[in-house]
Amino acid sequence: MYYFQIFSIIGSIVLFALVINFIRLGLLKEKYSVLWLAAALVIIILSLKKEILDYIAKFLGVAYPPSLLFLVAFIFVLLIILHFSVVISILHERNKVLAQEITLIKSALKESGIDIKGRDKKEKQDNPRI
């Protein structure tokens, strides 16, 4: 076993453990952990079974098999970032809809005599209607 194998196995195990721990602490939703765990597992397998790594490297024409690990890790990182971009876009849209609803609800409340300005609390106390 080469040092690079030991190094990447340890690294992947640490990553795997971190992700699991984050899920356990509620800091990470399972939904967003799948790609991280998959990346860690694939890298562990490729590092443990050097034959697989060598085989794929030969097939792809990569002269130095360990560099294939970088490629695999890079592809996973790209996938994870792309996933985040999609998630951010969804959140952006939902956030917009929420803010618009709040805007409309506040306006409707104001029309029925309830003024929730939020910013200047002083005015609220002076307002006898509330």
């Binding site: 618009q100 409309l104 306006s107 029309e111």
Partner: protein, 235 residues
């Protein structure tokens, strides 16, 4: 169309427009007295909110700055919620003269189009854009005219009137930033009829345009990209 009285809503989006918003409101009220007016204050940090409230119109306040697209959409959602048949966009910066509003409303009231766009380039007024801006506008005009197979001269005009169906559509789908050009393509894709009418416009009375030279490059790229993506998108 039914004979019942048409409910008209003038939507004025405003972000840091304290210099103009007061006169815009009073002009609109003077020229289109039958319409209701709302100002959508997009998280302004200046006196826009105070001046608009003092103008005696309904003011909707965004909790934070969300951009012109979301601001217009809030206006359309309000129009839908409150049962308006016609919604008119009038910029809060004073470049859309209130006395021109009647011309863009008319075709909607007569049921001639789903959306009416006030165009600066159909003979009325003497609007002269800078060379760079004029070139950009010409590109958009060509691209949009080609896509919707109908001549559109002023695609970036934010001076528009929308009918009931359009209001409903905009409440659910409205582009985020620099929405004017993209909205036309979306409407066409949905089968809405678009009509341009000649209007006069002012140069901005005060404040700064949202489109600075640096942003204009981003603007061009973003809008063109958005148009092509819209063509591929299923909605």
């Amino acid at each position: 169309m039914k004979d019942s009285k048409q409910k008209i809503l003038i939507i004025i989006p405003a972000f840091n427009e304290e210099a103009n918003i007061g006169s815009v409101i009073s002009n609109v009220r003077k020229h289109v007295s039958e319409a209701d007016i709302i100002v959508v204050n997009d998280g302004s940090g200046d006196g826009t909110a105070r001046i608009a409230e003092a103008g005696g119109v309904t003011v909707l306040h965004h909790p934070y700055n969300m951009g012109i697209g979301a601001t217009m959409q809030t206006g359309y959602k309000y129009a839908l919620l409150n049962g308006y048949n016609v919604a008119v966009q009038v910029d809060g910066d004073g470049q859309h003269p209130a006395d021109q509003i009647q011309y863009i409303i008319k075709p909607i009231l007569e049921d001639k189009a789903d959306i009416v766009v006030g165009s600066r380039f159909l003979g009325k007024g003497d609007y002269k854009p800078s060379i760079a801006r004029g070139a950009g506008m010409a590109v958009f005009s060509r691209v949009v005219s080609f896509i919707i197979k109908e001549k559109v001269t002023d695609t970036t005009s934010g001076f528009r009137a929308a009918g009931r169906d359009c209001i409903t559509f905009f409440s659910n789908h409205y582009p985020d930033d620099y929405p004017e050009v993209e909205a036309l393509v979306l409407l066409h894709k949905k089968g809405f009829s678009i009509l341009e009418v000649p209007v006069k416009m002012f140069e901005r009375a005060g404040g700064r345009s949202s489109i600075t030279p640096v942003r204009s490059v981003y603007y061009m790229i973003k809008v063109l990209l958005a148009i092509f993506v819209d063509l591929l998108k299923r909605t």
